[in-house]
Symmetry: C2
Subunit: 340 residues, 2 copies
């Protein structure tokens, strides 16, 4: 079968690889029907994360179960399933707490040891603790499937940022970053009851989606000017700020625009954001919560809302390609976002 | 009257200064009966905080009201009062939220513009929003007054660390730092229901108090060895860690010994702790909460517990001197804690 494989910086190929096989009785084999390219795939592609030749890529996918190991109980051959961007046993202390990303037997898709989602098929370890069944009636509704697909990662991650930041009924929320996660953060903040939602970003087509998603204010300024604008319009800062980028500039801005006693919910994979403006955090008791999103915990409830027509993150997916179109899509994305 | 005055690094003197006078109708003048030296007084004394000649010192004090401005309603001449380590109007958005330390009209004791608590008397701005009346029957009970005095700062700060770390019934709490705040953190963790309380420290006489206060485990190792010990004894880290020092080493340790999904409550004034182990925070969704403690919010409830005999932080006060003994006490403290 075909799969994306990392060879070197700016050298990811669609290679022929062995078909996946059941190795453990808790495995499932799925035929991938949909997969996404994530903003975080750009880090290794650009050589900014340590990847090694031969590693698989892709962690956002849906598919049809082809085969299950003999201990698998909750999914069966023919089921349409969606996966979070990590796998987990569903039974350890951390999974029981909803923190599936810290599962003691879990792990990440791709890399040296696991299949990646950007492939025709893949082996899913710990299938019971990982996969969520999508009702079969969705399979003939490509539009609906596209609304479900972002629940693999970006919608759950935006939701995690909003929860971690402490968004609640009537909150003023600010979102740093107009990528897919930031846009999903707008949806999440609105869903959690924020009455004012301020989006900080620079891409016109993304800001248009932000408004459609419920952003009440758009701040296109950068750096100190953006901080000043948000501080003025909120008279002291946002109650809850969603940091959806992961760079130092984004984290600094998130801290600077948050109200005393408020919270920063951060979900951008840290790239240089380790040096925090700790003095402001300390002086104003601003909380820092977040991290890698335990998407598996949020999948069932968000899926229910999508199926009920109450939530639709599909607009964050702005291009559809097949595996052959993958490299073109990567290059187009990078050229459109030189600052990342 | 006499007051402590900063002149230079290692040069704090007991100077004659003008008697305090009512300047605003919201002021009170109090005669100081008790004041503490705080660990944070050591930073400027050692030249590690930017202090200027002539600045007053001291932010932990109790006293008797001598005079009040005409708008003061809640305290009157003759009242025994205790103050938190900041002053606050009690009526702004942040005070209403209990975040008195972010009061828009508030401020810190000492410095260039305000009196310090290490003095015979002082002017207290915003007396209604700041001072808490201590029942008059305590005035003849020096032992009880000594149990109340730590509520000005260290007990409320330890409590804030425990609250921010998320200590609850049955939690495993770890406390980094065996200074007065860390010891009060033990009391606070116990009071909030922690079932296991691990104290990390090195001073035998302080560790003895920690045990008396309710610490169930003592870790005297340093650095990686201490991390390893706590990780092993808790099988994965403490649910809630109280960072009560403020140095980079203490913050690193606090993060490293906290369980996935757990919380670090930090109250040590940051001195070099700006560079965090952000990868661990991110990967395991460990929250960072805390900051300068809004002690005013906690004073009434903690005072009630002290008066009821349910809480007694007095043992953290290990030396009693008069103003003349102040310099000796500072020097003894510094020489006893060379590593700070």
């Amino acid at each position: 079968m075909r799969a994306t494989v990392y060879h070197n910086k700016f050298d990811v190929r669609i290679d022929q690889v062995p078909d996946p096989q059941i190795k453990e009785p808790t495995d499932a084999i799925i035929r991938v029907t949909h997969a996404c390219i994530c903003g975080s795939d750009l880090w290794p592609y650009r050589g900014l994360d340590q990847y090694q030749e031969g590693w698989r890529l892709g962690h956002e996918f849906m598919g049809i179960v082809e085969e299950v190991g003999k201990e698998v109980k909750t999914v069966k051959k023919g089921d349409r399933v969606i996966s979070p961007f990590t796998f987990s046993d569903g039974s350890c202390e951390f999974c029981h707490k909803g923190l599936y990303t810290s599962c003691i037997h879990g792990g990440f898709w791709g890399g040296a040891n696991n299949d990646g989602g950007q492939a025709e098929a893949m082996r899913v370890p710990l299938a019971d603790g990982t996969l969520v069944v999508v009702p079969p009636e969705t399979s003939n509704d490509e539009k609906l499937l596209k609304s479900i697909l972002p629940l693999t990662d970006v919608m759950g991650t935006g939701h995690h940022a909003a929860v971690a930041a402490g968004v609640r009924q009537g909150s003023t929320a600010a979102i740093v970053g107009d990528g897919a996660v930031g846009l999903c953060g707008v949806l999440a903040a609105k869903r959690l009851g924020a009455s004012r939602i301020i989006m900080l970003g620079h891409q016109p087509e993304r800001l248009k989606i932000a408004k459609e998603f419920g952003a009440t204010d758009i701040v296109e300024a950068r750096g100190d000017d953006a901080v000043k604008q948000v501080q003025e319009m909120t008279k002291g800062g946002a109650d809850a700020t969603l940091e959806c980028v992961g760079t130092k500039a984004a984290m600094d801005m998130a801290i600077d625009i948050t109200r005393p006693g408020g919270g920063v919910g951060y979900v951008g994979a840290p790239h240089g954001s380790e040096q925090l403006n700790f003095s402001r955090l300390f002086l104003h008791n601003i909380s820092m919560r977040g991290g890698i999103a335990p998407v598996r915990a949020y999948l069932p409830v968000l899926l229910k809302d999508v199926l009920a027509g109450k939530l639709d993150p599909a607009p964050v997916l702005n291009m559809t390609v097949d595996l052959e179109g993958y490299l073109l899509a990567m290059l187009l994305w990078i050229s459109a976002r030189p600052s990342r």
